[in-house]
């Protein structure tokens, strides 16, 4: 509005002024004529007295207008014309930039969604995750009595809630179904700042031992099972055989991250279990509870850590039997949840950053070439009065225009990539990569891309701009028509750009090489079991119905025997847990007992006969469990070779006895080692793993576990038969998490595989772009020196000499690039080290191989133009131009 008015006004003002000047001159002339001067002379005098009309008008125009803006518009128009005139150049540059900026945008949109975007809870930066810890296990569950003490003693949190994963079988609504539930203390939802959609969340009255059982549904389950029917409030749901009253529905948003990728169906009270898991006798027992707390406003994480450390020290004094050596971990909830992917993602971010830098160097090179071609044009413009700053601005305008256009293309590419990627990743279980379902191109990403594009334009535009700034127009205009740009300083600039490109791509190749090697090591590492042909499924026996160990034992025995008898089944059993983690302290008979709280840890699992056989965990000595290892026989166990070699190196472990520690005061419950098996890697992280101990299920029954069935039958047929067997024993039980073991083991390496694939693609792009850059510069040099080559040939140089000349020049640049890249890679290797597995960060094989590859590619890039130079006809070359 104002803008248009001003535009109109401005035109009016200029016209008025011109008219006024005309009238002024007319009047003056008239006066002079009246005074007796000749008409023409009078006109001339009037003009002379007035001075420079154009200058006055110009002054007015600048005053009323926006000269800067007009110049910019002019620059843009000019740049566009130039780009249109060089379609080949424009296409190459735009594609290079689109790849560079697109890759950055894509990875950034992941980083943004996973690491940067806050959890969808109010003031979520104040949400903390609390754990217990000790020397051996830095993060572990919180025991209920400790949680209660933390709640009572701390002054830094608005509240500390406890929550633990649970599962319940819903019966009475058709087929029994397994629900993912969480047991939470009453303050859990208030601390997160989550308000129920309907009804209410838990209150303190729902969270006592004597409270009536109440359940809060999650929005997803409410939608799935009840089609969002509001009449669900007050309804009774039978969970594990006990009636629960539905008191409310809470939103699902944000909880998938908190629960590690699981879509939780319902919440029940944790406080109701106080008499089961709380109380002084359970101070050292860890029933899967973690603390979820909200910092008071203004309290820092550091302050909270100091406070909790002093609480831990006081508790250690009060309860020396259980709390000595126990620390309290305080970390940001989001940070903890995405901690595993932070490093790989940042590595990818660095990698795409390097690709963009290489692309920038390449484009800078192309622009410099173009600038050399345009030298005369620029010189002419500068002689005609364009200031150096004005010319530099023109160059920057061109480069920024290119980068913004490239950025727009890149954004489009990134949008397609993320859409395709999230579709692929959606098929992976969400727990593998947290928040991958949240990836999107949002305003932050748009802003990032815009900023990146502008920055990119400035970075690669600076080179030709500086070159133009420095060039002396006199010199350029005096030069004859021969193609220029092979000048020493110009060539040095190009060579250093190429060396940079090669160095950066070497860094990327080294990182990719190390990661590939790590992946191979991980894949080759023997996990200690075979997963082919093994089907797994989870089973839970509600304690309301299966009250006694005898009931559990008898059901599990019947069920596993029924399955083992199915056609095609080679071995079958129950294992709890399937693949960790369940760590416990243990003591070895006859060995000096370590200090309280410093006992060694082992991965414990209980198995029925057939489970280890189904997973084909190799038996080294002794025997597997048998039916006769039951409640009536002496306690037995199987240990792995790690534990055996640690305590009885070179000697037989069979017949020796170990015990887990129930409470510090209870005497050891010795179990005799009857077998030694191969160590099983419970995870594929490559970190240190604890030795394994297996107990007989019949001697230590658990209310559930994972079925492992090794068979030759198709999984779908098998699972139908297994379900049939289950129904015949107890129709109220549900099998859940039915998956082949290969899928579980595949998922263990999936994140590593994804990052290796991405890194390899990026390194490949970098290599191609750098090779193109090298080729471009060498080809350019050869063309520029055609005449010189011809002369050399004419003076007796052989084609081989010419080839050697070109190659040696190119290879010198390549070697410098490789050397710089090696140093940079060694520096970066420190960052990469934690992600590697079985490979040294300065692995000489990788470094040598990658350098060789890069030099070979550079040599090829030089060879093509060198051949062209070699094949030149000397006569034609000398006459060239």
């Amino acid at each position: 509005m104002n803008f248009i008015a001003q535009l109109f006004r401005r035109k009016q003002m200029q016209d008025d002024l011109s008219e006024e000047i005309r009238l002024h001159l007319a009047q003056r002339t008239e006066e002079l004529v009246d005074a007796g001067m000749a008409c023409e002379e009078a006109q001339a005098t009037a003009r002379r007295d007035f001075g420079d009309i154009t200058q006055v008008e110009e002054y007015a125009r600048e005053m009323w207008g926006w000269p800067r803006l007009e110049e910019l518009l002019f620059d843009i128009r000019y740049s566009l014309r130039l780009l249109r005139k060089n379609p080949g150049f424009t296409t190459v540059v735009l594609l290079t930039l689109a790849i560079g900026i697109g890759a950055n945008t894509a990875i950034f949109s992941v980083v943004n969604a996973v690491l940067l975007r806050p959890l969808p809870f109010p003031n979520s930066d104040r949400l903390m995750f609390l754990t217990e810890g000790n020397r051996d296990i830095p993060e572990m569950y919180v025991s209920m009595p400790n949680l209660r003490d933390w709640q009572a003693r701390n002054r830094v949190f608005e509240g500390i809630a406890g929550a633990r994963p649970h599962g319940a079988t819903l019966t009475g609504r058709g087929e029994p179904q397994r629900l993912a539930t969480r047991e939470v203390t009453a303050d859990f939802f208030p601390i997160l700042g989550v308000k129920p959609i309907m009804g209410r969340a838990f209150t303190a009255d729902d969270d006592q031992v004597q409270s009536r059982p109440a359940v809060v549904l999650s929005e997803t389950f409410w939608t799935r099972e009840f089609e969002r029917d509001p009449r669900v409030l007050g309804m009774q749901l039978e969970l594990d055989g006990q009636p629960y009253t539905v008191i409310g529905v809470v939103p699902a948003r944000g909880f998938r991250v908190i629960w590690g990728g699981t879509d939780v169906d319902a919440y029940t009270s944790l406080g109701r279990l106080e008499n089961v898991i709380g109380g002084p006798e359970h101070r050292a027992d860890h029933f899967g509870i973690y603390g979820y707390a909200r910092l008071k406003p203004g309290v820092t994480v550091e302050a909270a850590r100091v406070e909790m450390a002093s609480i831990a020290a006081r508790l250690a004094k009060l309860y020396p039997n259980t709390n000595v050596g126990q620390s309290i971990g305080v970390q940001a909830l989001l940070g903890e949840r995405v901690g595993d992917v932070r490093r790989p993602l940042l590595l990818l971010m660095v990698a795409v950053g390097l690709v963009l830098l290489i692309a920038c160097a390449n484009v800078a090179n192309l622009l410099t070439s173009l600038a050399t071609v345009r030298r005369r044009e620029i010189a002419v413009r500068s002689v005609l009065g364009a200031g150096a700053a004005r010319l530099a601005r023109q160059f920057l305008c061109e480069s920024v225009l290119l980068s913004v256009m490239g950025g727009a293309l890149g954004l489009l590419a990134a949008y397609c990539i993320t859409a395709a990627a999230s579709e692929t990743l959606a098929r992976l279980p969400a727990r593998l990569v947290p928040r991958f379902d949240e990836i999107s191109v949002d305003p932050t990403v748009l802003l990032f891309t815009l900023g990146l594009s502008l920055l990119t334009g400035v970075v690669f535009g600076v080179f030709p701009a500086v070159a133009a700034y420095r060039a002396d127009p006199n010199e350029v205009l005096k030069e004859n028509n021969r193609s220029t740009g092979t000048g020493l300083s110009d060539m040095r600039l190009r060579n250093s750009l190429v060396a940079t490109e090669l160095a950066l791509s070497l860094v990327l190749l080294v990182v990719a090489g190390l990661m590939i090697k790590s992946l191979f090591h991980v894949l080759q590492t023997d996990p200690g079991f075979r997963s082919e042909g093994v089907l797994t499924a989870s089973l839970n026996l509600p304690s309301l119905k299966y009250k006694t160990n005898a009931q559990v034992r008898s059901f599990v025995r019947q069920f596993t025997e029924k399955i083992a008898a199915l056609p095609g089944v080679r071995a079958a059993g129950l294992k709890q847990p399937l693949l960790g983690p369940y760590e416990d302290n243990f003591v070895v008979e006859g060995q000096p007992r370590p200090l309280q709280g410093f006992e060694p840890y082992a991965e414990i699992s209980v198995v029925t006969p057939g489970a280890l056989e189904a997973m084909r965990v190799e038996l080294l000595y002794g025997r597997y469990f048998s039916r006769t290892d039951d409640e009536n026989s002496g306690a037995v166990c199987i240990v792995d070779d790690r534990l055996a070699e640690r305590y009885w190196p070179g000697k037989a472990a069979i017949g020796k006895r170990i015990s887990t520690i129930e409470t510090p005061t209870t005497p050891p419950q010795w179990a005799t080692i009857v077998g030694v098996v191969h160590h099983v890697e419970n995870d594929a992280s490559g970190g240190p793993t604890l030795p394994g101990v297996y107990f007989a299920f019949a001697q230590r029954p658990a209310n559930g576990g994972s079925l492992v069935i090794h068979s030759t039958v198709d999984a779908n047929v098998l699972i139908t038969r297994v379900r049939g067997a289950l129904r015949s024993l107890d129709p109220d039980l549900a099998l859940y998490d039915v998956r082949p073991l290969t899928q579980i083991t595949g998922e263990r390496v999936a994140p590593r595989r994804v990052s290796v694939i991405l890194l390899s693609i990026l390194a490949g792009i970098a290599l191609v772009v750098a090779a193109l850059g090298t080729y471009g510069v060498m080809a350019y040099m050869v063309t520029g020196r055609t005449q010189e080559m011809g002369l050399r040939r004419a003076l007796g140089a052989t084609p081989r000499d010419v080839l050697r000349l070109v190659l040696s020049q190119g290879m010198r640049v390549a070697l410098v690039g490789v050397l710089i890249g090696m140093v940079a890679s060694l520096a970066l290797a420190r960052v990469v080290r934690p992600l590697l597995f079985g490979v040294n960060a300065s692995d000489p094989m990788t470094f040598a191989g990658v350098s060789g590859l890069l030099i070979a590619v550079a040599a090829l890039a030089c060879y093509i133009p060198a051949r062209k130079a070699m094949e030149l006809d000397p006569i034609v070359a000398v006459r060239h131009e």
């Binding site: 006024e20 002024h24 002054y59 007015a60």
Partner: protein, 98 residues
């Protein structure tokens, strides 16, 4: 300042203004007539003057410049600060009283 002062007395058109300044300064200020216009433009933009097309005493189409209240205020300010400056110069130059 000179222009504003002249225009305060009476609205004038460009040519008359140029002549007026020439005469009142007794031809002391040998400025090009043209340089008057940029100054006028500047003051127009600052809002100290406004311009209207009209007819002069000699029946010509002219653009008459008039002082605006803002211009008057500015003149006031300028004059007073100029006088202060003159005062300062006078004091420095006047013989020291012993």
């Amino acid at each position: 300042m000179m222009i504003l002062r002249t225009l305060k007395r009476q609205p004038l058109h460009g040519y008359a203004l140029a002549q007026h300044i020439k005469q009142t300064s007794n031809e002391l200020l040998q400025i090009e007539e043209g340089s008057l216009y940029p100054a006028l433009q500047r003051m127009l933009k600052s809002g100290w003057l406004k311009a209207e097309w009209g007819i002069s005493s000699t029946n010509r189409r002219v653009r008459i410049y008039t002082l605006t209240p803002a211009g008057a205020k500015h003149l006031q300010h300028e004059v007073s600060s100029f006088e202060r400056m003159l005062e300062g110069i006078k004091r420095v130059l006047s013989p020291v009283k012993l």
